[in-house]
């Protein structure tokens, strides 16, 4: 199928006729809805949104929520979604053998990304399942002898919720506070460890503010005290250098769709030397070392492996590109808009996650105004509720700053033009919203807002 198209490509055929005759030959519609609706002039007044049209999409700046599927990953997945549909656990025929080989290669690719052995990788349905399995599984296995867990206040909801469930089962959980920059205090961690502590769970890169914890030091402390160290590496894998042996990590969760891979797949790294035992959450036929039974979704696994291999190869290049864009975004906004605060310690931060608080502007209204940019305030998990994000509250941000924060997520595919567009739009909208804000007016007149006695109605 493709060779025919490639031959036509080689003959320098007009691309339009190539695709048209290709599609007609297969009885498909030849009218792709490309530009049937002409794109309106969006140099029109600020506030008008051309994304009201059906096929115009906003600029994507939400890489922490999810990332687009890299075409190179899709290319590797395609055979396993068409021809090679065998169950990798079928031992008796070629369909099974070939798929099993592909799954093994993917396992190795993911292991190489984090410096692990392929046998230590378990495939799950995502980082949430990996987090649940590791925390609940390890805690329940060692329940008789140890019953204390340490985590932080800025963890992902699935970890906080798993700890809450364990608390109801009789465990004790310590939630470590973070400093204003979002980093935990290592002395506090040392002080919190008891003889009955079984697990410490601290995420590598925070999904809301992007701070990077000092994994090496935390790992060292945990190893000295013979406590298991679990880290949620969903936002970190493939973005910063990780090595489970250097950092003394015993368990790590990885998410496929944060790595430019498919959604619905994740991995859990479980150390074998020294062995980490855990009780499985999903039991059945004993697949994946008994830790996660169920047919391994070969197409998704192959995609995640390819994404991991790609990330390992492109790590430096992507990091440089994203750092450049991040600098451009932050400098651009801070030089044109006053009273903008970046949340998170700038010395320990992943550049692709930029969380800014704009004073005197409400975050939701700024999000609504920036209709042509796909952004988020807080994480996707908590954006349904109207509460300010618990992560920002843990940083000690006051309520008004927590409410006015926006998260810009830069990724591999973001371009400089998109960043420039966003900077210009942010400047325009923040200025406009501040002009409408009475608080801004009062601030300009020199009134100290904290001294105001607001009347109750």
């Amino acid at each position: 199928m493709f060779s025919r198209s490639l031959r036509v490509l080689g003959a320098r055929a007009n691309r339009r006729t190539l695709s048209a005759c290709y599609l007609r030959a297969r009885g498909l519609s030849t009218t792709l809805n490309l530009q049937t609706e002409s794109v309106t002039n969006h140099n029109a007044p600020v506030g008008e949104s051309i994304t009201a049209q059906s096929n115009v999409m906003p600029i994507y700046l939400d890489a922490q929520a999810t990332t687009p599927l890299d075409p190179r990953v899709l290319d590797v997945m395609m055979p396993y979604m068409t021809e090679n549909y065998g169950n990798p656990h079928s031992r008796t025929h070629k369909y099974g053998w070939e798929t099993e080989k592909a799954v093994d290669i993917a396992r190795e690719q993911i292991a190489n990304l984090i410096g692990a052995h392929p046998k230590e990788i378990i495939f799950t349905s995502g980082a949430t399942e990996s987090n649940n399995t590791s925390i609940k599984g390890v805690a329940r296995f060692y329940k008789g002898k140890k019953n204390h867990i340490i985590t932080t206040q800025t963890e992902h909801k699935c970890i906080l919720d798993s700890c809450r469930v364990l608390q109801e089962e009789g465990f004790e959980v310590t939630y470590l506070p973070v400093n204003k920059g979002g980093i935990i205090d290592l002395n506090e961690l040392k002080g919190a460890i008891r003889p009955t502590t079984v697990l410490v769970s601290i995420m590598a890169v925070n999904n809301e503010i992007g701070v990077v914890q000092d994994l090496k030091e935390i790992g060292k402390i945990c190893r000295e005290n013979r406590v298991f160290f679990h880290t949620d590496g969903a936002q970190a894998a493939g973005k910063i250098a990780l090595n489970v042996n250097d950092m003394n990590i015993d368990l790590m969760s990885i998410s496929g769709h944060k790595l430019y891979g498919p959604k619905g797949i994740g991995a859990l790294y479980v150390r074998r030397r020294p062995r980490v035992r855990l009780e499985p959450i999903i039991t059945g036929g004993g697949q994946e070392r008994g830790i996660r039974s169920g047919t391994v979704p070969s197409s998704l696994v192959v995609g995640m492996g390819a994404a991991a291999a790609l990330s390992a190869r492109e790590l430096d290049y992507d990091y440089q590109h994203i750092s450049k864009l991040s600098r451009r975004l932050i400098d651009g906004i801070q030089s044109r808009v006053s009273h903008v605060v970046r949340n998170g310690d700038p010395n320990h931060i992943y550049p692709g996650c930029v969380n800014l608080s704009f004073s005197f502007v409400e975050g939701e209204s700024l999000l609504m105004a920036l209709k042509n940019v796909a952004l988020s305030s807080g994480s996707a998990c908590t954006s349904a509720s109207l509460e300010p994000s618990y992560v920002l509250r843990a940083l000690g941000a006051e309520d008004d700053m927590a409410h006015s924060s926006i998260r810009f997520g830069l990724g591999r595919f973001t371009t400089e033009s998109e960043v420039d567009y966003v900077v210009d739009n942010v400047q325009a909208h923040v200025t406009r919203l501040r002009e409408m804000s009475p608080l801004w007016e009062m601030y300009q007149e020199g009134i100290d807002l904290k001294s105001i006695q607001w009347s109750q109605h």
């Binding site: 493709f2 198209s5 490639l6 490509l9 691309r15 339009r16 695709s19 290709y22 599609l23 792709l32 809805n33 490309l34 530009q35 794109v39 969006h42 140099n43 051309i50 994304t51 096929n55 115009v56 999409m57 906003p58 600029i59 994507y60 687009p68 075409p71 190179r72 899709l74 290319d75 290049y317 042509n372 591999r412 595919f413 973001t414 371009t415 033009s417 998109e418 420039d420 567009y421």
Partner: protein, 97 residues
Amino acid sequence: MSTKQSQILHLYRSSLRAAQRFETYNFRKYFYRRTHDRFHTMRNETDSRQVEKAMAEARAELEVMQRQGILNKMFSHNRTVIESDPHYASGARRFAV
């Protein structure tokens, strides 16, 4: 120009053209920039084995980009806000429909 050099140039130009054929703005820009940077980093490489390896990788990537370019065209019908704005993006492709 030696045959090796002309081969590399042909590969480079084909890769750039394949990158330009993506419908999705972000992929098009990324693959164009990536191809350009990959070839430029290998520019001053003298070890012939490294060059051969890089060329083999480049050929494989070219095939992937060609296939995915076609697939992208078959399934995409969205435009990004920035594509048609001349002030920001030179989003125009070489072979605009």
